[in-house]
């Protein structure tokens, strides 16, 4: 039996329409007008025990709305959800006991209190036996480096410290299902890496089913074997990450800032010049044929580089290409349930 089963899930929001100015406000009082917006449109998927699935899409695609329905906070307009055999909205409290949630843009911790106070209360709420709680706290103090943060009020923490604390709060009761909504948003590379490693180790070793939404394809690449891409409320791809990586992930862009004007460059195979500007050059390279360090090394031998940056493939661009049939020959149909890799 799947841990999460979603069938024809739909959510329609009624958005009030207001004309500008005082007249519009008064008119709105007597004759309110609403526009229907379908945020999630008849989507289907299943997640098995232990799967870590990336749920991605551009802003407004319907990712967070789906997560909020899966957690039981929002009631679907249509379709059905079963999480561990329960209807999350109707059985909200029972469902809440089995899940852990991180919303990257808001905190579940008590803002004014030391982290340890929040964790104590959360452990009590989820009925974590005291001995097990102590064990988990020791473990998280190591893996998430929380030791020095336990007595710090959440409002005094940096973004990275807060996110590590959020993860501890979401996982301290060892939930069976974990929803991570943009857990690495706004974090620097080192913290991102640490959080990815933690998620991989913690959720993987305990067989947790994880649904991860993110705009960072690096998160997906490192954590997920399966990805679901959603756009305008509809699933446009459900299948192995490998297909996406092969099709869209083989190119990277690398931009160099130089100290002087850029001469014509001799580039390694698989690397091409995208643009040059005043003291700036952008290259694109095929990761199968060459590596970032080879490209950087080749360029640095020819010019003096002040700084350089690597960029991931753009998600919006990938979605656009899928619409244009980029995957038609890839053998993967949208929403193809049997395309899922084994957990």
């Amino acid at each position: 039996m799947s841990v999460i089963e979603v069938e024809n899930l739909t959510k329609v929001f009624k958005i009030p329409q207001k004309d500008p100015g005082l007249g519009g406000a008064i008119k709105g009082l007597f004759a309110p007008r609403f526009q229907s917006k379908t945020a999630v449109d008849r989507i289907n998927f299943r997640l098995d025990r232990g799967e870590i699935v990336g749920y991605i899409g551009v802003n407004g695609a319907g990712k967070s709305t789906t997560i909020k329905m899966l957690t039981g906070v929002l009631m679907p307009t249509g379709g059905s959800i079963r999480v561990l055999g329960r209807d999350p909205h109707r059985q909200r409290i029972d469902n809440a006991r089995e899940i852990g949630v991180v919303f990257g843009q808001r905190t579940q911790l008590w803002w004014d209190l030391a982290l340890i106070e929040s964790l104590n209360l959360i452990a009590r709420m989820y009925d974590v036996p005291p001995a097990r709680y102590k064990q988990m706290l020791d473990e998280f103090s190591q893996t998430l480096d929380l030791g020095s943060l336990l007595k710090v009020p959440v409002r005094n923490m940096s973004l990275g410290q807060k996110m590590r604390s959020e993860l501890a709060a979401a996982l301290i009761h060892e939930p069976k299902v974990v929803y991570l909504d943009e857990p690495t948003i706004g974090l620097d590379l080192i913290v991102k890496e640490r959080i990815r490693d933690f998620i991989k180790a913690e959720c993987g070793s305990k067989g947790m089913t994880v649904m991860l939404t993110t705009h960072d394809l690096g998160d997906i690449e490192q954590l997920c074997r399966r990805v679901i891409i959603i756009d305008e409320g509809r699933v446009i791809y459900d299948g192995p990450i490998e297909t996406i990586k092969k099709k869209f992930g083989k190119f990277r862009e690398i931009t160099f800032e130089t100290t002087g004007l850029v001469p014509s460059l001799s580039l390694p195979p698989g690397c091409e010049l995208l643009s040059t500007g005043d003291r700036k050059v952008t290259l694109r390279f095929d990761r199968i044929q060459t590596t970032a360090s080879q490209v950087a090394s080749a360029v640095m031998k020819q010019i003096e580089v002040r700084d350089f940056s690597l960029s991931e493939p753009d998600l919006a661009n990938i979605v656009k290409q899928i619409y244009n049939g980029a995957l038609d020959n890839g053998g993967v149909e949208p929403e193809a349930a049997d395309a899922r890799p084994a957990p």
């Binding site: 967070s64 906070v73 209360l121 709420m125 009925d127």
Partner: protein, 269 residues
């Protein structure tokens, strides 16, 4: 039974958590002390002016009225349920999601938080009580039975008011706009709770109106018991009436919440 024990243990933890949140903002304590003293002084001078040419108003002497007004000010936190603005803020900021994700009854959690907050606010009123005694000559009741009757009535009144506010706060799930409703309810609460004017001084028809809505249950009813305006012998009847309010408001608010929560929208991604 185990589930009940677990829930009680959680509620106890939440009860213990709220004072710590309170302590985080010490400045408010001092600002509150100054503002409350000024407010109390204005009321005392006002009522002294009202009684300048008369010995009694609505069968109450100046001393009785001042005792009532000062006690009503000291116990004002009994009416200080801020659910409408709280719901509105949490809906606007999207924080409501975390409350709904806790594996515990949402209303129960909020009630315990508010009860704990009430205890803290009452403790923080002690300096106000000292000011009322030393500066304005407040005469405290001394009969323990009166204090007992007051305590039961205050708890019942506060609980009834909490459920009433809960019902109103659920409207924000539909409107998502809270300012107008919040200000209206605050104004009504200020006047209709009896914290500014004893109920017996209101015209008969207004007394009927006031006693038909729950605001007065939290201040006018218990403070009237405390000051002797309502004789102690009537306490059981007062409690029964308040218990009926609590039961009715709890049923209405819990049912409305079950319907209203379907309308929740979580702002901001």
């Amino acid at each position: 039974m185990r589930a009940l024990r677990r829930d009680l243990s959680i509620y106890l933890s939440i009860f213990g958590m709220t004072p710590k949140v309170f302590m985080a903002y010490q400045l408010w304590f001092w600002i509150g002390l100054v503002l409350n003293t000024i407010g109390m002084a204005i009321l005392v001078f006002f009522w002294r002016a009202v009684y300048a040419d008369t010995d009694s108003v609505a069968a109450l002497s100046l001393q009785q009225t001042l005792t009532y007004i000062l006690l009503a000010q000291i116990f004002f936190p009994l009416t200080d349920v801020d659910l409408i603005f709280d719901f509105g803020f949490n809906l606007r900021e999207g924080n409501i999601i975390h409350f709904l994700l806790r594996p515990i009854n949402f209303q129960g959690m909020y009630y315990v938080q508010n009860l704990s907050s009430l205890m803290m606010r009452l403790i923080l009123q002690i300096p106000i009580a000292v000011v009322a005694t030393l500066l304005f000559g407040l005469q405290w009741p001394t009969d323990p039975a009166t204090w007992g009757a007051f305590a039961v009535s205050a708890l019942l009144g506060f609980t009834a008011l909490f459920f009433f506010h809960w019902f109103l706060a659920c409207l924000t799930f539909y409107t998502t706009e809270v300012w107008g409703l919040g200000v209206l309810i605050f104004g009504m609460s200020l006047f209709l709770s009896g914290s500014l004017v004893p109920l017996t001084m209101m015209p008969g028809w207004l007394q009927t109106v006031v006693l038909s809505i729950p605001f007065a249950q939290a201040i006018a009813v218990p403070v009237s018991l405390l000051t002797g305006i309502t004789p102690l012998i009537q306490a059981p009847l007062v409690w029964l009436t308040q218990l009926a309010w609590v039961t009715g408001m709890w049923l209405v608010s819990a049912l409305f919440f079950r319907v209203a929560v379907r309308k929740v929208t979580v702002q901001g991604g």
